[in-house]
């Protein structure tokens, strides 16, 4: 049991080192082959821009069913989770946890390996993490996002209602410059210096009750309107708008801002205790059935998309102006170095607090030219902005795709794919590079999915 607890604690500690949130794997191979770009007709597009709901699906529109080929690879070869095994590598295990093996990994970053050296003298301390330095990022380690976890809904004509859970989490862990230098560059620790860390954590969960409207607001028929009602390809000029206000029933909220540090004395390892510790944390929370009870708030998803001469320009804002009011309990926790004790003070009870669910903005452009589509998008969220661009070429029943994207680690990646369409059903494959690993280094994966046209 102790072993399990230790491994769990170690995993949690190292999760703090994870790169800027491993973004979710893209399991839609058609879209991944095009660099992961959003358009109004490739996959789960309506979650990016609510106005897409009103746009006719078109002959090339599809939704995807992932084929988790990576599970086969994982079954044949996977890292051990037994810490007593000589092959156990905590970084391999964390890579599995943060990057579920749903795609085949063609190229993996080199394993984190090698010995760690610590040199100690009375007035010197140097820690050389060797290969482990690769997992320590240059800046803050931020993770999180806004997750809409399914739900259910119904619609009539242009109106729809839906209910679903929404979870927002964010954690930003920062090493002080001195501590980062000491760990990442093996700079010796020095006397009279503070080595600190800070962490800003926030999590909230709510149920969203949403009612919305998505409709065509403007229309100038194109030349081929009668033969082809698809505004993406018939040359029409059209504007589609969508808006869906939502009531947010807050289930739980919590945040914690903490700072901790060690300040060395004149001599690092003097006979008396030469270091002082400091730690201050302030927490705020409210929970359904507990302190503060439920929260109440409102928000909305809004979007617009313009078609003109087979060019598509879309703007979608999810969780626009979304916020929840809570009655929160605020506590302050302080460590006293002199007494070696923590003291907790209740700063406020039922304090009114308004939390914000950060907006996710998606801007996309696409141009259809016969059997060819070229597209690009920018997706900006609380922690990162990703860029995608790609193209799709149809040659009869076959499709060829290529694309590029700048990922959450600000690394440009490349993708390529192919697909075949047989009536309403298609199968797609894509090869893409990525950096969804604790080393933040480039790997490559093979993804597959079925497309329902």
């Amino acid at each position: 049991m102790l072993r399990v607890r230790c491994v769990a604690a170690l995993a949690l500690l190292l999760l703090g080192l994870l790169p800027g949130s491993a973004p979710a794997q893209m399991l839609n191979a058609r879209r991944l082959g095009m660099g992961g770009v959003v358009t109004s007709d490739n996959g789960d597009h309506s979650s990016s821009n609510i106005a897409f709901r009103a746009v006719p699906k078109g002959t090339m529109g599809s939704s995807a069913i992932p084929i988790p080929l990576g599970l086969i690879q994982y079954a044949a070869d996977h890292p051990t989770f037994d810490s007593s095994d000589s092959t156990f590598n905590i970084f391999d295990a964390l890579n599995v946890l943060t990057n579920p093996p749903l795609t085949i990994q063609i190229v993996k970053p080199k394993d984190v390996s090698g010995d760690i050296s610590v040199y100690i003298a009375q007035d010197s301390l140097q820690i050389d993490l060797a290969d482990v330095k690769r997992v320590i990022p240059d800046g803050s380690m931020a993770q999180g996002g806004v997750y809409h976890l399914g739900g259910f809904g119904a619609g009539i004509r242009n109106l729809f209602v839906q209910v679903g859970p929404i979870v927002h989490v964010k954690n930003e862990f920062t090493l002080s410059d001195r501590l980062r230098d000491a760990l990442k560059d093996a700079v010796p620790f020095t006397g009279d210096t503070r080595y600190g860390v800070s962490d800003d954590a926030r999590a909230q969960a709510a149920i969203a009750f949403q009612a919305g409207l998505a409709l065509r607001a403007f229309h100038l028929p194109g030349e081929n309107e009668k033969e082809n009602p698809d505004p993406r390809r018939n040359g029409a000029t059209a504007i589609y708008l969508g808006a869906a206000p939502k009531y947010l029933l807050g289930l739980a909220y919590g945040d914690a801002q903490s700072e901790a540090g060690i300040t060395t004395g004149d001599t690092l390892f003097a006979s008396s205790n030469p270091v002082t510790f400091d730690m201050v944390a302030q927490t705020r929370h409210a929970t359904i059935g507990g302190d503060g009870g439920v929260g109440h708030g409102f928000g909305s998803d809004v979007g617009a998309v313009l078609y003109h001469q087979n060019v598509e320009v879309g703007v979608g804002l999810n969780d626009f102006l979304s916020q929840i009011s809570w009655k929160t309990t605020v506590r302050r926790h302080v460590y006293d170095n002199a007494t070696n004790e923590f003291t907790t003070t209740e700063v406020a009870t039922d304090e009114h607090y308004v939390s914000r669910i950060p907006v996710t903005a998606t801007i996309n452009v696409a141009k259809r030219m016969g059997e060819t589509t070229i597209a690009a998008d920018a997706v900006a969220g609380e922690l990162r902005t990703t860029l995608h661009a790609g193209a799709e070429f149809w040659l009869g029943m076959w499709a060829l795709r290529a694309g590029t994207y700048r990922d959450a680690n600000k690394i440009w990646q490349g993708t390529a794919g192919a697909g075949i369409r047989l009536g309403k059903l298609g199968i797609d494959m894509a090869i893409a590079t990525h950096s969804r690993n604790i080393e933040r280094e480039r790997g490559a994966e093979l993804s597959a999915s079925l497309s329902i046209y």
């Binding site: 072993r3 230790c6 491994v7 170690l10 500690l13 190292l14 810490s83 007593s84 095994d85 000589s86 092959t87 156990f88 590598n89 905590i90 970084f91 984190v112 390996s113 090698g114 010995d115 760690i116 050296s117 610590v118 040199y119 100690i120 003298a121 009375q122 007035d123 010197s124 301390l125 820690i127 993490l129 482990v132 760990l183 620790f189 060690i262 060395t264 690092l268 390892f269 003097a270 006979s271 008396s272 205790n273 030469p274 270091v275």
Partner: protein, 181 residues
């Protein structure tokens, strides 16, 4: 000192990540010693005293105490270096290093873990060094208990008087740890 050392080790151990990786702790024991105790004058040893024993130092060390509780010691070694500035006389010296459990009555109650022969000539500086490798006694003493550590010299003279200064130049413990989660 202990608290900062613990933090350094606790910070490094998780990053070692278990498995087949090692945490290599190198401790400059000499830096923790009183500078005055690093140097010992010997002599003058007059004629008629063919064998003379001089204790360089003896101390109780606990630098890595407790580390063994959370990690497995794969190996331990000790690097020892000394310099003899012999002003007069000629002698063969046995330079001996002792490491004994804290419970031992004296560090000299156990056999030495290193015994270096040194020849001293008049007016010459002689440097010696050695590494004591893979010593289970050393590993146990350095990491689980306080250890009694001592260094002494046994002079067997041929010309007299023998006189000079011995300086410890290196005393470094190297402990290789594997994390036992």
């Amino acid at each position: 000192m202990r608290r900062f050392l613990w933090i350094a080790i606790l910070a490094a151990l998780p990053l070692a990540g278990c498995g087949n990786r090692n945490l290599i702790l190198t401790v400059d024991v000499l830096s923790f010693m009183d500078p005055a105790s690093r140097q010992t004058s010997y002599g003058p040893i007059p004629s008629g005293v063919p064998v003379e024993t001089v204790t360089v130092f003896q101390d109780s060390l606990s630098l890595l105490q407790g580390v063994g509780d959370l990690s497995r010691v794969a190996s331990a070694s000790l690097k020892v270096g000394a310099s003899f500035d012999n002003t007069s006389g000629t002698a063969n010296v046995e330079f001996q290093v002792y490491v004994a459990p804290e419970t031992a009555a004296s560090p000299f109650s156990v056999p030495p873990i290193a015994d270096l022969p040194v020849q001293l000539l008049p007016g010459q500086v002689t440097n010696v060094n050695t590494t004591i490798n893979a010593s289970p006694i050393l590993a146990d003493a350095l990491t689980h208990d306080r250890a009694k550590v001592a260094v002494r010299m046994i002079f067997t003279g041929t010309t007299f008087p023998i006189q000079g200064t011995e300086t410890l130049t290196e005393l470094t413990a190297i402990v290789v740890l594997k994390q036992d989660l």
